[in-house]
Symmetry: C2
Subunit: 358 residues, 2 copies
């Protein structure tokens, strides 16, 4: 006979046979109903039987099967977490809070990353439906009227939008006040004396970007600075486009003296461009951005940022979603808007009048 089996089974693999509730019942000498009752507490069980059941559970090494339970109960205790970009530190900070809150409430997360691709997002929305997630937290990537409608059609469970809202999509949402945050940061620049302040925006139509641009214009108005459309550049919330846009801005005939990036990725692209141009910050140019980094304290220039309350965002998102899961679902839509916080560091200074004098 060929094909001997060498008995070195070092690799942990699938176990021999599934231990079911029936095995426990048999060993304990009770019915499966009683085992279930002791384990879930759904019905009263006498102390001695409980003891026998627990002993039997330990003896046979029984773990209840969540799949079977989900099928029967009609709930999975799983939440979909559909992200636009898991690589983004802002996202991961939120995810961290979401995970903690969900875990504390006995929910597990299904990780979905759309990679900024609306098609992949829809695929995942479908997947979450088939896998019967009890609810979904969504950082949407698309925009436009049709987009909202399509999500609406695919969605079939309670959902919460995180970071962005979608017009015409009636869902609970948790966002931060991008208008105020940007207004304060740009106001800070204006106060320092800057008159030509450029902004790197995200895609037009995305709420998080639009709000921030609105805040920018508000700050300009307050400072009595005329709005110059050529100082608003779309950096698509991504690093490379932001870098390119910054280079264009800085090479223009009349370059800005200050730059504001609407998110962290664009801030990196912006700073690369600044470094490439050989400019010293904040001497030659002042910069600031939305989103904070934990390394902002450690590298030069120490960036002035608008920090988002990522813990609160994640926690509130889970709270909102779990609120919808119970029977007593409040009727109206809920939109929680959290305040950002301006952190002033070293990257902003008065504009270089010296250059003009020289």
């Amino acid at each position: 006979m060929e094909g001997r089996i060498v008995s070195n089974s070092p690799v942990i693999g699938k176990s021999s046979r599934k231990v079911t509730i029936r095995d426990v019942a048999r060993v304990a000498g009770v019915s499966t109903a009683t085992v279930s009752a002791t384990l879930t507490g759904s019905a009263p069980v006498s102390a001695p039987l409980m003891e026998r059941v627990r002993a039997a559970v330990a003896e046979v090494g029984y773990r209840p099967d969540a799949i079977a339970r989900s099928l029967r109960r009609g709930e999975t205790r799983m939440l979909g977490l559909l992200l636009a970009d898991i690589t983004n530190p802002f996202t991961t900070a939120v995810v961290h809070a979401v995970e903690a809150a969900a875990h504390a409430s006995g929910y597990t997360l299904m990780l979905c990353n759309s990679d900024e691709d609306p098609a992949k997002e829809r695929t995942y929305l479908d997947l979450l439906r088939t896998h019967r997630a009890d609810g979904v937290m969504l950082m949407p990537v698309g925009f436009g009227r049709d987009y909202g409608q399509q999500i609406r059609r695919t969605l079939d469970v309670p959902a919460v939008l995180v970071d962005r809202t979608i017009p015409g999509l009636p869902l609970d949402a948790v966002t931060v006040d991008g208008r105020t945050g940007t207004r304060e940061a740009v106001g800070h620049l204006a106060t320092l004396g800057h008159r030509r302040i450029a902004i790197l925006s995200g895609p037009a139509g995305v709420s998080a970007s639009d709000e921030r641009v609105t805040g920018y214009r508000a700050a300009l108005d307050e400072a009595g600075i005329a709005f110059d459309p050529s100082l608003v550049r779309d950096g698509a919330f991504r690093q490379d486009p932001a870098r390119a846009a910054t280079l264009e801005l800085l090479r223009a005939a009349e370059p800005p003296t200050a730059l504001f990036a609407c998110n962290n990725l664009m801030a990196i692209g912006m700073m690369r461009a600044v470094a490439e141009m050989g400019l010293d910050c904040p001497r030659d140019l002042s910069v600031a951005c939305f989103d904070d980094f934990d390394w902002a304290e450690a590298f030069q220039p120490r960036l002035t940022t608008v920090a988002q309350p990522t813990d609160a965002i994640g926690g509130q998102a889970v709270a909102l979603l779990l609120g919808r899961l119970g029977e007593a679902a409040a009727p109206g839509l809920r939109h929680i808007v959290l305040p950002p916080r301006l952190i002033v560091r070293d990257s902003c200074a008065p504009p270089p009048r010296a250059r003009r004098c020289a």
Copy 2:
């Protein structure tokens, strides 16, 4: 009658009634077996019937229920992803690759974050068992002999260790060659003329840390530099301990002229300390670290780093795990060791002899 129902149902909620395969079968005038066969292709179905089934599926808006399918088939097409720290950019880069690979193979991820807590890790291991994940990818947080045994007991499906190995835990693994990476980086510092090179290590006993310290000593040997234990400080792979350790090192009687941090978090802590001491890098002090950052090009000092191939790590981890899932599980253990890459930037320079002369 009190309690009118106001017909403003703006919130998307649970749908009315579940559409099952039976509904499709009824509408198409076939058996549920035939519907299943057409949808999964598990058995031959004639063209006309297929057509009718497909039409019926579209008509009633049927989505197969993955929970029921999992129960019946005994596989969930879910993979557990048990992370030590989702906030770490290295981790998220790997997760990004893992997600892409898993998604491409039709698997969904269950996101678990142990937050560097062995107890939470075990809780999640249990949970993954309960939820019947088909396999697990694990970035372990503990160490020591007992630790491996405990994981072994809890684990019940194929698993792959990522980034770290555990002695006595016979599992497939994907890691990078930390020894070579560190040896090259520290060698680079030695070549520049540094003799007192300090290293911030992770916890002793963690493979990723031990390897890197080994590489450090190898580089010292090659350069003919005597090993000085006081130049090895445990930064626990975390930011604050690394900052504290760096301050101690720099305030010592005979401070090092170069610093190497064994991971990204410690690099940040290290740089904070350097900034706090008012030292200019690389003039006063040279620094380098394991792990690369995408903002390393954008801020000062532009850090010299040892970049890990995160895409490959994630991709290989999934490949290894999926390989174990099929019937034809290869007998032996597999351990894939990937090469890191030294990226030389501006943070290393010859040591400041000037200081000694002055």
